[in-house]
Symmetry: C2
Subunit: 326 residues, 2 copies
């Protein structure tokens, strides 16, 4: 099942169910917002699936309309909680290089921070930021949205609470990041609001591409129209089941908790490229002695698109946006 949220002038928007081909959408009268659906997912899911089936089979439903991704907000336009992992070791190792820090541990427990969740920008929104001097960077990653997860749940139980899958652009200010990181307190200024591609999908939509609680897909990233990366997201050191269980150790997770993978990255980064600029700069530091690729300038664009292993487009729609002076 594919879900999106249309802009209706309200902070949580209007939840719509999409047809299988994502050309049509329709609201469900009982579930006006995705947050409300997630708060009662066992009731909401069958009702939403029935509407999706009707829309896909008959091509119509009450208030059905063509789905226009340009009118979509983030699937969950705001959430009570955003916990972002850093589950790709090749990314972590490169970031330690670019930030001149010791390598982070990847053998015992996931890395995770709590980030800004009072808004998620749409995949096409302009992104207002204060200064090019801060080292503006995109970060392509995948994420999951849970329903209510009890404190202390196991990894296996956690897997069952992963209800929706999303594609995220986690904006970062790289010149502030190491300053905040060295305090041990994590990031505040270095992590403004994330953007999210327009369509959230249930795990079954990915078929075999959702396996081991990981997205077995490539993430295609273009910067100013030039291919920048095509890394595979299956390389996570910890699966999303482990990330959810880690997050729930000492807290219940509220419905609509969003948990991210961290920047998609492969050890073969010299061949497949990267999902953020900082990684390329780290590779340049390793290979050429100094970073030469600049961070983003105002007006720069970034485009992200998930790709199945056979090259078909993933179901999330695209992130395609520019950064502007805020």
């Amino acid at each position: 099942m594919k879900l999106a949220t249309l802009d209706n002038g309200r902070p949580d928007g209007q939840l719509v169910v999409l047809s299988a081909d994502a050309r049509l959408c329709a609201p469900h009268p009982a579930w006006p917002t995705l947050q409300q659906a997630l708060e009662a997912w066992t009731e909401a899911e069958p009702a939403l699936r029935a509407l999706a089936a009707q829309l896909s089979t008959t091509g119509t439903a009450p208030s059905a309309q063509a789905f226009d991704a340009a009118r979509a907000l983030a699937p969950l336009p705001r959430a009570w909680q955003w916990l972002d992992g850093s589950a790709f070791q090749s990314h972590g190792d490169l970031m330690s290089t670019v930030f001149h820090m010791d390598k982070l541990p990847y053998d015992e427990r996931p890395l995770m921070y709590q980030g800004l969740s009072d808004r998620f920008l749409s995949g096409t929104a302009d992104v207002p930021l204060p200064s090019e001097a801060d080292g503006i960077d995109f970060e392509g990653e995948f994420g999951v949205i849970t329903d209510a997860v009890p404190m202390g749940c196991t990894r296996e139980q956690a897997a069952g609470h992963i209800r929706l899958l999303v594609l995220i652009n986690d904006w970062s200010l790289r010149r502030i990041a190491p300053v905040e990181m060295k305090t041990g307190f994590g990031w505040v200024q270095a992590k403004p609001a994330c953007s999210v591609a327009p369509i959230a999908v249930t795990p079954d939509e990915l078929g075999e591409a959702w396996r081991d609680s990981r997205f077995q897909m490539h993430l295609q990233v273009d910067w100013n129209g030039q291919r920048f990366g095509l890394a595979h997201a299956g390389a996570m050191a910890f699966g999303f089941d482990q990330l959810v269980a880690h997050a729930a150790y000492s807290r219940d997770l509220v419905p609509g908790t969003v948990i991210g993978s961290g920047t998609v990255s492969n050890e073969t980064y010299r061949e497949v490229g990267s999902s953020c600029i900082a990684e390329r700069r780290a590779i340049e530091m390793l290979d050429e002695g100094a970073a030469r690729t600049p961070y983003m300038a105002f007006g720069d664009t970034v485009r992200m698109q998930a790709k199945f292993e056979d090259g078909r487009d993933g179901p999330f729609g695209v992130v395609d946006q520019q950064v502007v002076k805020g």
Copy 2:
């Protein structure tokens, strides 16, 4: 003006205005929740103040009742954002001792992390946590609640967006804290939900005790009925105006953003005591070579009460709660 939120079975509760003596309370029909009031504070504040004046002068108002702190939730039972500083250098220096880490910088920019804000526990709620072995600790601190703060605002502008003042118990799991801190990602597992004393007040309620964007008050902390600390909160290295402006560097702050001071602490900690157990353990490490005070056991209680400099009780009501097996 004094505000509180009563439990009405809904997540945001029922906002009530208190009489000046905090004996009576009444709802305002136009402002059912504190979040809604904060989203339109310039409209809401005069209406709520008019009700408070009526209640204080006449002793009655529609739906007025005796204010029962035991029925109160946290003033803001959930918020879109909780950003906690660590603005007391004597606390930071002692924590570096207890965590065996280098001292943190206090000379340039505030320390701040983003924490769990999907719920704030009431000041009297039992606090369920997974294990005594995690090093369960209270942390007494003060906090402010803002209305909408634009990105990039100055310290002076930020001061004007501080709308309400609160007393917070920021629960911490001390054996996890340094593990998470050493990654640079900040705390997730080490920082479960905070508790908040029942009454939020506008800054004018403190009179001269709100000065330099700091609480010029003592925080009295008792652990299992024994006095533990009576530190003065005026010793912040950065005022709340600076904390708010720091938080708003690369993000707008949504109405209802809660910003904390970090544990109240004084350099005279050997005389005035501490607002958390970890500090006392650090002092023992410095003075006696090893920590001997244990962290909390299930069933332990902590009580926190703000005190004016002349010894009068502060207006926030009390935190008085026990920690239980979750």
